[in-house]
């Protein structure tokens, strides 16, 4: 029970993560599954000594990602999980490669100063005005008017996004289709940083 509570605490921390760091300084996303440390923590009296010492040698490299003490930086694929047959996986993988957007394009949205992030499905929107209006409603703020020369005028907030190359870009510069195919996450910057962008 202790272990599962510890896990729950971990989860809550993630959900309420404060993001005050500069773009690009974020740690890589940790895998959402608990690195299984059951082999160490388990000390149930009913389990015989011999099977403990042997059993804890769970070093099958196939399941290393789930079984190590330290979380690997990137999520390793575990063999055969989720349990989908290769034939089906291959058929659908081909489809994903064909399509840029697939089924649903959820990206995280953060706002400087807000205690937690939100997620939105970019596929739902057809244009920048729609997206920006939604963001304004979601976070109860005003973003202002976009202009190519000056960025976002008339407010303290500027919507930015991280693209496929890891660069932070101002929302609105590129055509909508290009935007949704390259946008990985959104961040609404506030204050002096935001004003800096519009100069």
């Amino acid at each position: 029970m202790e272990r599962s509570m510890a896990y729950e605490r971990d989860l809550n921390l993630k959900a309420t993560e404060l993001r005050l760091g500069l773009p690009g300084s974020d740690e890589p996303e940790k895998p959402s599954t608990t690195p299984s440390v059951r082999s160490n923590k388990r000390a149930s009296p009913e389990i015989s000594e011999e099977s403990r010492s042997k059993g804890s040698s769970c070093v099958s490299s196939k399941v290393e990602s789930g079984e190590r003490d330290s979380a690997p930086p990137a999520k390793e694929q575990v063999v055969g999980w989720p349990p989908i047959r290769s034939y089906r996986k291959n058929c659908l993988r081909a489809k994903k490669n064909d399509q840029v957007d697939g089924a649903g394009m959820y990206v995280k949205v953060s706002v400087d100063g807000a205690p937690y992030l939100r997620k939105i499905d970019l596929k739902v929107y057809k244009s920048y005005p729609e997206l920006l209006e939604t963001l304004e409603n979601m976070f109860k703020l005003t973003i202002g008017e976009y202009s190519e020369k000056e960025g976002y005028n008339g407010s303290d907030f500027a919507p930015t996004y991280e693209d496929k190359d890891g660069d932070w870009m101002l929302v609105g510069d590129v055509p909508w289709d290009m935007f949704i195919s390259s946008c990985k996450r959104l961040r609404i910057m506030k204050g002096s940083e935001a004003r800096g962008l519009s100069c």
């Binding site: 599954t33 070093v59 989908i84 047959r85 089906r88 489809k95 399509q99």
Partner: protein, 603 residues
């Protein structure tokens, strides 16, 4: 559609519940040595015979082997091809017209078993070729079949009528060509989820030029081009054809031509359901709606491998009659689904991708009141992504589809509340398979383990025989299964449980358990030994990446001589001490098999 369709006849139950064969000593689970070997007797042979007559098929089981007289049973069903040798089976049962064989365990589908493990069809085809020249039907699942095997089959059985290969591999189009050309009475050639290599032989052209007896031709899994003209001519000269499932190399225009030739079809797999790349063919101008409307007997629709959503309205005329619809390769949205599904009032089986989202599932729940089986597959089967379906969809289905019997549901997040709701709303559930794709994910609203949800399923669904669990689960979940899952026959466990107690609960509590597959769960030797009283009643036990040692497995092997205990070594697994990465054990009259590959040790 029989993807992983576990419709093995309930005659399996002869081996345990209905036949009181065990007289095990209490506490035999923890001991080793001869005192704990269960006495295996068959005190009520008449009851066994009765069951056999009722089920109209032969089941090989240890107890009745020497009691059952040779009867004029025509169907031989062998749930594990290594449970008995082909020679013994064919000499014992002499009047067989149909053989069903199952080979590899299901987890082999997910690359958990190295290739070339076994389950070869070869010894079976040669034994049956000698013993049953009048054989008409062969149904194989997860077997390795070669072209030579298929050739021998085609040569040996002059009246051969039905070949069904599910999840098989090892053969190619040249094997199919042999069957097509030599089996003149062939009615059924069904290739389902099988891997077929492209030998560049046009097997469709190998069917005889005359009228055929074909009733069913299923080749949607065959990943190679077929000569379309030959296919069209074949369909034209197969007046009895009722089931036709095309592969993805058949375009929608070609489909049209075939449908026009075969309006009598009841089952149709539509192939790609998109125009061919050669746009000049004018495929978009064809009157697909009329073609579908002409198929008045169509009840089962599948395919849609590369669907162009604009083409979807063509199927409107048949929706009202459909009892089975497979959209599981079609990446369609809720909006695209709704106009279709809102007409499918008679639908009983529905397979779909999660691209339809919770909203799509709500639409299904609104209309499909007769739904018996639902499968929701993930478009993107990764672990850490936001998923389009959730507890919302499951709840909606439970409220709308009260007659549900079987569900397979892949999702990224789930709640106990929704699972509990389903357990109460759908009392007819026989199969409940929930796959929360993130390992160890708890209830995403409460943060609790998923114990209560699965507990409610085993508690409330009194007809439940098959269960697959997932998400964060403690030993409590297994306590529930052991306490309430009294008729569970198949249980699938992955990344679950806290300790040996979990497995013990199940082995001690579930008397009907036949097939148990476990991966990546912290169950060790003590737990394994607690099942000694039961293993002879099971078809198999699979445990991979758990906490077993060679020594523990050895103890089982010594205690139960009629069990074949295989320890499988994987190349990329580092072995420390005595660790046994993969255990696969099964009862057998045949003893250790003779085709053991190098990476398998039989203890």
């Amino acid at each position: 559609m029989s993807e992983d369709d576990d419709r093995s006849p309930p005659s399996d139950s002869i081996a345990n519940g209905s036949c009181p064969t065990r007289t095990c000593t209490p506490g035999s689970g923890s001991g080793s040595g001869s005192s704990s070997i269960p006495e295996y007797a068959a005190p009520y042979p008449d009851r066994v015979l009765e069951n056999v007559f009722r089920k109209r098929s032969l089941v090989l089981n240890l107890t009745s082997w020497y009691r059952v007289e040779a009867m004029t049973r025509s169907d031989l069903f062998i749930g594990n091809c290594y449970a008995v040798s082909p020679e013994r089976a064919t000499s014992r049962f002499t009047r067989v017209r149909s053989v069903t064989l199952k080979g590899k365990p299901r987890f082999a589908d997910f690359n958990l078993m190295p290739p070339n493990w076994g389950a070869h069809f070869a010894p079976w085809v040669s034994a049956t070729a000698k013993a049953y020249p009048w054989l008409e039907k062969i149904h194989l699942k997860r077997m390795s079949v070669t072209d030579d095997d298929l050739d021998l089959l085609a040569e040996s059985f002059s009246g051969f009528k039905e070949l069904v290969l599910v999840c098989c591999d090892g053969f190619g189009t040249s094997g199919l060509a042999a069957v097509a050309s030599k089996c003149r009475q062939l009615k059924v050639l069904d290739l389902i989820e099988s891997e077929v290599s492209d030998d560049e032989v046009d097997w469709i052209m190998c069917f005889p030029d005359t009228e055929t007896c074909l009733e069913s031709l299923i080749f949607d899994c065959v990943e190679c081009l077929v000569d379309f003209d030959a296919l069209e001519r074949l369909v034209a000269r197969s007046p009895s054809l009722k089931k036709l499932r095309l592969n993805r190399f058949v375009s929608i225009g070609q489909l049209y031509r075939l449908m026009v030739r075969a309006p009598q079809l009841t089952h149709l797999g539509t192939g790609s359901f998109s125009p061919s790349e050669d746009v000049a063919q004018g495929e978009l101008e064809l009157d697909y709606v009329s073609a579908f409307a002409a198929c008045k007997s169509l009840v089962c629709l599948s395919g849609f491998r590369e669907i162009v959503p604009d083409c979807l309205p063509a199927i409107y005329p048949v929706c009202a009659n459909l009892t089975s619809l497979n959209f599981s390769y079609a990446n369609i949205s809720a909006e695209q689904l709704k106009p279709i599904i809102s007409n499918c009032h008679k639908l009983q089986t529905f397979w779909v991708l999660d691209s339809i989202c919770d909203e799509g599932l709500q639409a299904v729940a609104t209309t499909c009141k007769e739904l018996r089986e639902l499968r929701v597959f993930p478009f993107d089967p990764r672990e850490d992504i936001e998923g389009p379906v959730s507890e919302v969809g499951l709840q909606a289905i439970s409220e709308g589809c009260r007659k549900l019997q079987s569900i397979l549901y892949f999702c990224q997040r789930m709640t106990n509340a929704a699972v509990i709701a389903m357990s109460k709303n759908c009392p007819d559930l026989v199969v409940f398979r929930l796959c929360i794709m993130g390992r160890h994910r708890p209830d995403h609203v409460t943060g609790e383990p998923m114990d209560e949800g699965f507990g409610a399923i085993v508690m409330n669904c009194k007809k439940l025989t098959r269960l697959a669990v997932s998400g964060l689960l403690t030993d409590t979940a297994f306590a529930y299964i052991g306490k309430y899952g009294k008729i569970v026959r198949t249980l699938s466990v992955a990344f679950a449980g806290d300790s040996d107690m979990g497995l013990k609960y199940v082995l001690e509590g579930c008397p009907r358990l036949q097939k148990l597959e476990i991966r990546d769960s912290p169950f060790g030797d003590t737990a394994l030994l607690s099942g000694l009283h039961h293993y002879y009643n099971m078809r198999f036990l699979w445990m991979s990446a758990c906490r077993l040692s060679h020594q523990g497995c050895q103890q089982i092997a010594q205690a139960l001589p009629h069990l074949v205990v295989e320890v499988i070594k994987h190349e990329d697994v580092v072995h420390m001490d005595d660790y046994a990465d993969t255990l696969y054990m099964y009862r057998s009259l045949a003893g250790r098999r003779h085709d053991v590959p190098q990476f398998v040790s039989i203890l």
